[in-house]
Symmetry: C2
DNA sequence: GAAAAAAAATAAGATATCTTAAGAAATACG
DNA sequence: CGTATTTCTTAAGATATCTTATTTTTTTTC
């Protein structure tokens, strides 16, 4: 688990073993059962979570009472509600385990301290943020230019193993279509 | 112009006048006429641009040959193609002036140097990236949960002055609808 | 200031996607 | 293991949005 994280960090910055130990000491492992939540509706988000195993989803309940999934998080991804975390506002987004999931919690207060003690972590989180943003941009472009059928097809092609892990109705929500229509699209190829 | 930039930076980090001068020396002012481009299809993006006046749009041409606008940039916003810039890949996104526009160009090579010379600039750009990401997240949530009619209405309500500045067909593209449908929606309130 | 070009409006018909409702299949649970 | 709950499928009818084509209005250009 720690090895994964270390490798992950070293993809982006040089960090000594001692520095990593310090970094690691700011992280708290949490184990979540399926359907347990990390962040509830109305709570202010106070931490980021690095997923070491399992799968989380970040979603909200819309006016009509439907769950709308913004994105999923899997192994080696950070997940949080940045808007709530950085602007100190209550979250209407919910972070919940899709399956049994292990995360490392990094409290935002700890992170600010970490930035002081190991300045290069600021670079690390800048890079993470850049990459997260780029992923989102690509996704928007995708959704803008493809029909639902094409979006579904290319998502399944790109993430065949992941598609097996989540219920189809969650996939439909993530892709912005109804489960019924997803079912229809799968049947009529 | 420089004052605007200085104020803007000081919203996020403490920076001395001397440091700001140094920062400023890495920026090159460019003046764009309407329809001039900062980034062409197929080019690798090498810089970020801080808009001091005017308006730019970032868009691509989809399979059907339609322009698809990803977003606009106005005064006091940074604009670039992060995917191309940071991954050194050719851009299929185009950055073009919607009206006469003045920008300050920050080459990526200069920025890397700046990170070394004034480490706190790393913090500044981390924060910019976070805020940019949050804006995008909010937008996705918006587009997921509202009908075209609601999206249009709330965009116009939130940005009445901006709506006057860009042609309607660009607004339609940005909001993900056809110009004809936008026209229809305006007529049938 | 007139001609050309670009942008916006209108409207009819086409299509993608949603809604509703019911039954079938799969999974979780005691 | 059998019942309860959740998830998935199917299909018909409804609706939002697009397409195409034409006309009108506005803006640009010489």
């Amino acid at each position: 688990m720690d090895d994964n994280l270390l490798q992950y960090i070293r993809r982006y910055i040089d960090i000594s073993d001692a520095e990593f130990s310090l970094f690691r000491s700011y992280l708290t492992p949490l184990m979540l059962k399926k359907k347990e939540t990390l962040l509830k509706n109305g709570e202010v988000c106070r931490a980021r979570y690095f997923i070491t195993s399992g799968c989380l989803r970040l979603y909200y309940i819309d006016q009509k009472g439907n769950e709308q999934i913004m994105h999923f998080g899997i192994e080696n991804w950070w997940i949080t509600n940045y808007d709530s975390l950085l602007n100190n506002i209550p979250s209407h987004l919910i972070i919940e385990a899709v399956e049994k999931t292990q995360v490392l919690e990094l409290k935002e207060t700890s992170l600010q301290e970490l930035y002081q003690r190991i300045p290069k972590t600021e670079r690390f989180f800048r890079i993470i943020m850049e990459r997260t943003y780029i992923a989102t941009q690509r996704r928007i472009e995708f959704m803008y230019s493809l029909s639902s059928e094409e979006i579904l097809k290319s998502f399944i092609d790109a993430n065949p193993e992941f598609v097996q892990r989540v219920p189809q109705y969650m996939l439909a929500s993530y892709l912005g279509i109804t489960p019924e229509y997803l079912s229809f699209l799968r049947k009529n190829p």
